[in-house]
Each structure stands twice: as C-alpha cells, then as structure tokens.
Symmetry: C2
Subunit: 213 residues, 2 copies
DNA sequence: TAGATTGTTAATCGATTAACAATC
DNA sequence: TAGATTGTTAATCGATTAACAATC
C-alpha cells in the first residue's frame, strides 16, 4: 500500500498484466469466482510469488486465506491498463493481413475497435474492408488528428513501414503495433510492439535439432 | 572462446539473435560490408555492449578496430539458429488469418515454408489456399508424422487451440507459433511462442493517458 | 603508428524467488 | 479454531553495463 504512486512499475511487470487479464476472463467464463495466485500461476506457467509481487505494485486486491475475486481483479486490471473504454485503432495496410485484422472479432470485447483503414494502393482505396471504407494514406494525418487516434497497427510491407510510422507519429499516434518485419525508429514517448512471426519461429528453431534432411 | 559448448545460452539472448539477423540482412541489402556493434545497436535500440556480449556466447565473429563482416556474421547467425535449411511448417486454421499466413511471402527467404494447411471445417477442406490444398485435421497426425514436421502455426479460434496443440505435440511437433489468444499447456521440450495482438495493444495502453471521451 | 573496436571481466542493476508474519 | 493464502521483505539469481586490455 502507498499513498501517491511514485516508483514506476517495471515494464516487464506491465507486459504480464494483459496475460493475467486474459486468463481471468477465461476463469470468469468458466464460472470461477475466486482464484489463488497458485492457480493463476499454474495456468500461466509462472510462479505464484511473481503474480503476487506483480499485483502488489498496484494495490492489494486479494484476501488472505482465499485468494482473489475473479471479477474484481479483472476489473482492477482493466482499470490499470486503461481498458474501461474502447480505444479506436487505425489500421494501415489493407492487404491480406490487413483484411484478417479488420475482420478479426477478438478486438472489441478486449478494449479495441478498428475504426479507420488506410492504404496507398488506388486499387484498394474506396473498397470496403470489415465494414470500413479504405481511405488513402494521403488523408491519414488529417483523419487521425481529427479523431484524436492514439493507437495504430502497421500492416504494410517492410519497405513502407518506417515512412508510415513517421506519419503516424506526426499525426499524434503514440502506440504502434508493427507487423512489418523491421525495427522502427520512433521518438521517445512512442511505444512500438512488434509482431514478426519469423522472428519467433527463428527463436524456436535454435532449440530444434538441425534435422538430417 | 571455449572448447566444447557447455553453459546453456540464456533464452533472452537467443530471443535477440533473430533481430540481429534481420538487421544484418537489411544492412547487406543496403550494401554494407562491415558493421560495428555500435551501429548495429543503434539500429536496434540496444547497447553495443549487449550485442558483443550476446555474440560472445557463440564465438568470436568480429575484428578489433573494424567490426563485423556483415555477410559472415549473418551466415554464422543462420547456422546458430539452424536456418541453413528450410523448415517445413504446418499451418492449422484456414480462416482469414490462415489465408494471410499462407499467402505471406516473407517466410521462404528467412528459413520457413508453409507446407501443409489443415482445417476442420468441411467447407474449407479441399479448397486451395496459397497453393496448398486444405486438409482435414483428421489427417493431421498421420501427415505430420509422415513428413516429420517439427514446426507448426496455430491460427484457430481460442476455443479450439488447446486441442490442436495437444494433437500437434502428439504428432511430434515441438515448436508452436500460437496466434490463438490463450496460454497453451504443453509438455516440457515443446516450445510455444505467442502472437496475440491484443496483449500487445493492452501493454501499450497502460502508458497512454486515459483519454477524456 | 594512431585510432577504432572487439571480447571479456567485474561492477552494477534489476528481476525473481523463498520465506513468513499477518490475517481472512 | 485450524488451514490457507496474501502482501512484503530479504536473499538469490541473472542480465546489463562500464571499462579496458588486446589487437586489428
């Protein structure tokens, strides 16, 4: 317990909170009303102590002897992660991946809604994707500013990604989920998360025996 | 330098190697022949010392005074990550995301090839996706065994993912890239990497001011 | 040679874990 | 009450960084 929030919470702790939240949602769907740090840890492959320590950065949410109320902790995590509202997200790139993201039904009940789709291909501009009309990237900056969009997803080829990132930052975006296989250069204060499947596959092949073939 | 490889390399080090490799490929395309740890670090937003320390787990690849030969270090990283051959990958799930992955052109020159696509939907079985015929998941175990597939991608809804994972493991798969928003339970020796866009978006909203709206 | 940069050591920093008093 | 589990402290563990001799 503490009065005013002072020490910043380590980013590695923050990165686990969405996993806790996701698991709590499952537990709630399964009808669980109470969960212990041990049970939550078992689901996630973490240690109970780590979960308790992580949560202790934000307050006291459990009860000795029983554990955490699932609905309550879930609510608290949503508040901590600023998910008590829905964030409008701009999607840049209306290719195969952009289509998949625009059609993905898993955003809305976890705090996000793709509200704008951009592409620079005249063939795609004006088409409809996931209920949205694809807009020209030339309109991007103005639209993002007007709608005060803070979150964007980059789903363009690597060669175009840095330019898109620059424009997004210029338009006031400060959270970027980047599917392009390239490290982006962004100013301090802008957060980038990376989603390159090949990077994760390559990470795993390290542990695979180089097969005979 | 050491004789026989003894100490295991920390996983956090392994996780950075694909990023080094990716950046070296870019540098090679840009025509760079030599790169210093400082330049590589600048590109990646890391410290030069970290890159040198990471690489030192595997050998001595640089030259005092100049740095690393791009082509040589790239080759070495490919060998370390077992990327001197192409890995056949099974894709499970032929929905929007599965389509996007099957059509993605970025796998082949980075060591992977989607060779099999499975789905349990009779509407999809027999259809063609990215040049491959969608097979029934009922054939999965036999096909994976027969072709000795070690790497798979899960692109099915969360509700189906654990069952798919169990079947993949049973079929001998030991590296799973999981797009379903759920933590998988797998035996020791099976590696899972997660790709849940919402988890990464939620990580970032922690740092965003909860907007007025 | 002088300048630059590696590979490595030791110091620092930070994260995880173990343990337990508090308490439901 | 007895048993269980939290929140927290201190210890441990591991990763990052700083610094520099070696050397290209």
């Amino acid at each position: 317990m503490r009065g005013q929030e002072t020490e910043p919470v380590p980013d590695v702790v923050v990165s686990r909170l969405p996993l806790y939240l996701r698991t709590l949602t499952f537990l709630a769907e399964e009808g669980a009303e109470i969960v212990s740090s041990a049970k939550l840890a078992g689901r996630l492959g973490l240690s109970p102590a780590q979960i308790r320590k992580d949560l202790s950065h934000f307050g006291e949410f459990g009860k000795q002897g029983s554990g955490y109320q699932v609905a309550y902790l879930r609510q608290k995590l949503q508040e901590i992660l600023h998910l008590t509202r829905t964030w409008d997200v701009a999607l840049v790139g209306a290719g195969d991946l952009g289509h998949a993201l625009a059609h993905y039904g898993g955003f809305i009940d976890r705090g996000f809604r793709i509200s704008l789709v951009f592409d620079n291909n005249p063939q795609k501009i004006g088409r409809e994707v996931g209920g949205l009309t694809v807009l020209s990237t030339e309109l991007m900056k103005a639209e993002l500013r007007r709608r005060q969009i803070r979150v964007a997803i980059i789903a363009v080829p690597a060669a175009a990604a840095q330019k898109v990132a620059d424009e997004l930052v210029d338009a006031g975006v400060s959270a970027i989920l980047n599917y392009a296989p390239i490290t982006l250069n962004v100013p301090a204060g802008v957060n980038v998360q990376y989603m390159d499947p090949v990077v994760h596959l390559q990470h795993m092949t390290y542990y695979l025996e180089p097969p005979a073939q």
